[in-house]
């Protein structure tokens, strides 16, 4: 039905109609065709060609419109079921099966005559009436009641879980570890808040989850981009949703000096990117995530997108070697586009004591759209976890060998750069 509509109101047909009128119906073959007899909503004669008898396709469909679902509901159906069925789309509810396109066609069906009945819908009513006669409404009502009960039970469950959470938060009845990681807060409040961003806004697709260690220590190394470190939050959530493990991030000291950011970073399990803390986490068998590019990666200009910056001084490799845990190179595609950084106000940044002061593309849209324009762009993200690099082959003493550390750092960096290129080639567009 929709396709027919689209055909009638297509530009090509309109242009053809206009051409035919402008040329004064002199063209052969065109002027012979009869026009539609009906009049439009503005009381002008319809200019479409007649197809169904004296009417065009638009008016033929409108006048043959079926009654709306509310008229069609069986008399002995309860109000609950009625409401439920109306809420569903027409595919799920058999009685409403034929009455599609309720918004478009239904509103225009002002002059629909009740007498003409659609064949398929009538069949459906017949069948339902037949079934009802045979079995009665009992079963359907029971089913819906059961559904209702289950629904409210789930709601009650949710409510008591929420009450438990609130009680714990209000009375301080929760545990944090030495690093200050508040698991209760992170999994029950913060992660559910971020999840819509992960699922629906950036539509993260992740590959190679099997490369993340299921237990024991591991070091996830990823590229950093996007002006704001949102990629760290999203990757963290992705790892948690895929494996159920909390990846503990290592952050720069600026993070922990900044009000609010430092506090929340600690509470979500991040800690200072120093050898000491990382060693402790890895030897405790935790999964650790690190972004060795740091601010150089985050605050790089748009023209350098997906170009990996220097990987620190390779401290993360030495840490992984000391703890003898695998390194998982990870490539994040899509994070570069959330805040395209056009210019870096270096002087202002130095005055404020921050590593960079970004001018992002969205700022130019602020006069038009207001602060809403500063939202990150909804790019499509792909996170790929690469083949883990085994560090046990080198032994723990290799951590003190600068050449091995440099080589391994380069290897990790090249792996991530290759993965980035591959995923960039594979994506259809930035946003889809």
């Amino acid at each position: 039905m929709m396709e027919q509509h689209a055909e009638v109101i297509s530009m090509a047909e309109q242009r053809a109609a206009r051409d035919a009128r402008d040329s004064g119906a002199t063209r052969d073959g065109v002027s012979d065709r009869p026009r539609c007899q009906a009049s439009t909503a503005a009381d002008r004669p319809c200019r479409n060609y007649a197809t169904d008898g004296p009417l065009c396709r638009v008016h033929a469909v409108q006048q043959g419109e079926r009654p709306t679902p509310s008229d069609a509901s069986p008399p002995d159906e309860g109000p609950v079921e009625h409401a439920r069925r109306q809420g569903r789309d027409d595919a799920a509810a058999p009685a409403g099966g034929g009455s599609g396109d309720p918004a478009g066609a239904g509103s225009r069906a002002g002059s629909g005559d009740d007498g003409s009945s659609d064949a398929t819908a009538g069949d459906a009513y017949e069948r339902i009436a037949e079934e009802v006669r045979r079995r009665g409404w009992r079963m359907a009502i029971d089913g819906l009641a059961a559904l209702d009960a289950v629904d409210s039970d789930a709601l009650a469950e949710e409510l008591s879980t929420l009450a438990g959470f609130l009680r714990r938060r209000l009375t301080g009845d929760y545990d944090i570890d030495d690093f200050g990681f508040d698991e209760d807060l992170t999994t029950n409040l913060l992660m559910p808040l971020v999840r819509p961003l992960h699922r629906h806004y950036w539509r993260v697709a992740s590959h190679g989850v099997e490369h993340l260690p299921a237990d024991g220590g591991g070091l996830v190394v990823a590229n950093h981009a996007g002006t704001l470190p949102l990629d760290a939050i999203i990757t963290r959530l992705d790892i948690f949703d895929q494996t159920g493990r909390h990846a503990r991030e290592l952050g720069a000291d600026l993070v922990f000096r900044t009000p609010f950011i430092g506090e929340w970073a600690r509470k979500t399990g991040a800690t200072l990117a120093s050898g000491n803390d990382a060693d402790r986490l890895l030897t405790a068998g935790e999964l650790v995530a690190v972004w060795p590019e740091g601010f150089k990666g985050l605050g790089k200009p748009w023209k350098d997108r997906y170009k990996l910056q220097r990987f620190g001084r390779g401290g993360f490799v030495a840490t992984a070697l000391r703890a003898q845990v695998p390194i998982v190179p990870t490539a994040i595609v899509g994070s570069e586009e959330i805040y395209p950084m056009i210019y870096d106000l270096r002087l202002l940044a130095r005055a404020l004591g921050v590593p960079y002061f970004p001018i992002v593309a969205q700022m130019f849209a602020v006069p038009v759209f207001g602060p809403l324009a500063l939202l990150p762009l909804p790019s499509k993200w792909v996170i790929e976890y690469g083949e883990p690099i085994d560090t046990t082959a080198f032994g723990p003493e290799a951590a003190d060998d600068p050449m091995t550390v440099f080589d391994l750092t380069d290897r990790v960096r090249d792996t991530i750069q290759n993965m980035l290129h591959r995923n960039l080639m594979g994506r259809r567009s930035v946003f889809l």
């Binding site: 029971d142 009641a145 009960a149 409210s152 039970d153 009650a156 409510l159 008591s160 009450a163 438990g164 609130l166 009680r167 938060r169 209000l170 009375t171 301080g172 009845d173 929760y174 545990d175 944090i176 570890d177 030495d178 690093f179 200050g180 508040d182 000291d253 922990f256 000096r257 900044t258 009000p259 609010f260 430092g262 506090e263 600690r266 509470k267 800690t271 200072l272 120093s274 000491n276 803390d277 402790r280």
Partner: protein, 354 residues
């Protein structure tokens, strides 16, 4: 080295010193206990002899000589300016007092063991701190004011004394914040205020040690041979926000630029002694690693950080604005209500069905 000990305790009027003296009185291998302080101790002490003297007084040297003291336990370091009557007097009594005491000990050939009650404040507080300080870890910035500076300087003198008198075993105990006693009272006085001030946007990680555990540790190092430096703290960590919630109090976050103004206002009001070095602590907190205490001293703290805090709340009757029982009751009522609802529904369905 003899097993029978003659012990000198400085700052005997302090609560912790009194408990230590009482614990030592129970032991047969402690022959003599001498307590030194300027104030009369209020505790119920039996065997302990009390000498009213300042540690800066040469009398202390004569006491050490006369009683042939072999173990000196230095507990008289003052944590807050108010307790000493002003910051300059606090500094004098803390640092000069320790120097005089060490000078007296150096003269006394009988001294074999020196125990210093220090504080984890020597590590300072900074955003670059490691997750927990080990005894050997050197902080990026040593504290430059207040109590932290005092204890850092005293530790320096004690270590120098240990180098000069190689025959003396020096034990330094770095305690996390005490709760309940008078020692390190600056933090707990925050809970005397109607609302607990905190720094907006910061939530420090805190560690507490219960008095009983502190006494246990002090007794162990006084009676046994345990030279070295040890961190002493209960297990686990609490956020300040969590402490406030556990106590049922309300936080009053102060934006960073106004923190020192508010602190001096509070100090002038006389209800809490918030010093400048405490402010950094309220921003970044501090956690120490207690592995050495466990392995070398063999001490398992009886109270975790949280239990120590809850015990403090109970004993000091810290009045909560949000009562814990109330919240628990609300939750239970809601739960019961939901249960009842569910049951009603179930019965309803049964009745309808049957």
């Amino acid at each position: 080295m003899t097993d029978a000990r003659r012990v000198l305790i400085t700052g005997i009027a302090g609560r912790l010193a009194g408990q230590l003296a009482r614990a030592l009185e129970q032991r047969d291998d402690i022959l003599e206990i001498v307590g030194v302080d300027v104030r009369e101790p209020q505790h119920d002490l039996r065997r302990t002899e009390f000498v009213r003297a300042d540690v800066r007084n040469p009398l202390v040297g004569r006491v050490i000589e006369a009683s042939a003291i072999d173990t000196v336990v230095h507990l008289s370091t003052v944590a807050t300016p108010r307790a000493a009557g002003g910051r300059s007097r606090m500094k004098e009594s803390n640092v000069i007092g320790a120097m005089q005491l060490l000078a007296a000990c150096q003269q006394a050939p009988t001294v074999e063991r020196f125990v210093l009650k220090s504080s984890a404040a020597v590590y300072g507080s900074a955003h670059t701190d490691p997750v927990s300080f080990r005894e050997r870890s050197v902080p990026d910035a040593t504290p430059r004011q207040g109590y932290g500076q005092d204890v850092a300087e005293i530790e320096g003198y004690v270590r120098a004394f240990g180098r000069r008198r190689k025959d003396v075993d020096v034990t330094i105990l770095r305690f996390a914040n005490f709760l309940g006693g008078q020692a390190d009272g600056a933090f707990q006085s925050l809970f005397n205020l109607p609302v607990v001030p905190s720094v907006l946007g910061f939530d420090p990680r805190l560690q507490f040690v219960h008095e009983d555990d502190a006494v246990q540790v002090l007794e162990r190092v006084t009676s046994g041979d345990h030279p070295g430096i040890y961190n002493v703290a209960g297990d686990g960590v609490l956020y300040l926000s969590q402490c406030i919630r556990l106590a049922g109090r309300v936080a009053a976050p102060v934006p960073l630029p106004f923190v020192s103004a508010v602190a001096s206002g509070v100090r002038r009001s006389g209800r809490a002694d918030v010093t400048m070095d405490q402010l950094r602590f309220l921003q970044f907190g501090r956690v120490v690693d207690t592995t050495r205490m466990r392995t070398r001293l063999g001490i398992e703290p009886r109270y975790s950080t949280r239990q120590a805090f809850e015990d403090f709340v109970r004993r000091r009757r810290v009045r909560g604005v949000v009562a814990r029982e109330e919240v628990v009751r609300w939750e239970r009522e809601l739960y019961d209500f939901l249960q009842r609802k569910g049951q009603d529904r179930f019965l309803h369905a049964q009745r309808d069905g049957g």
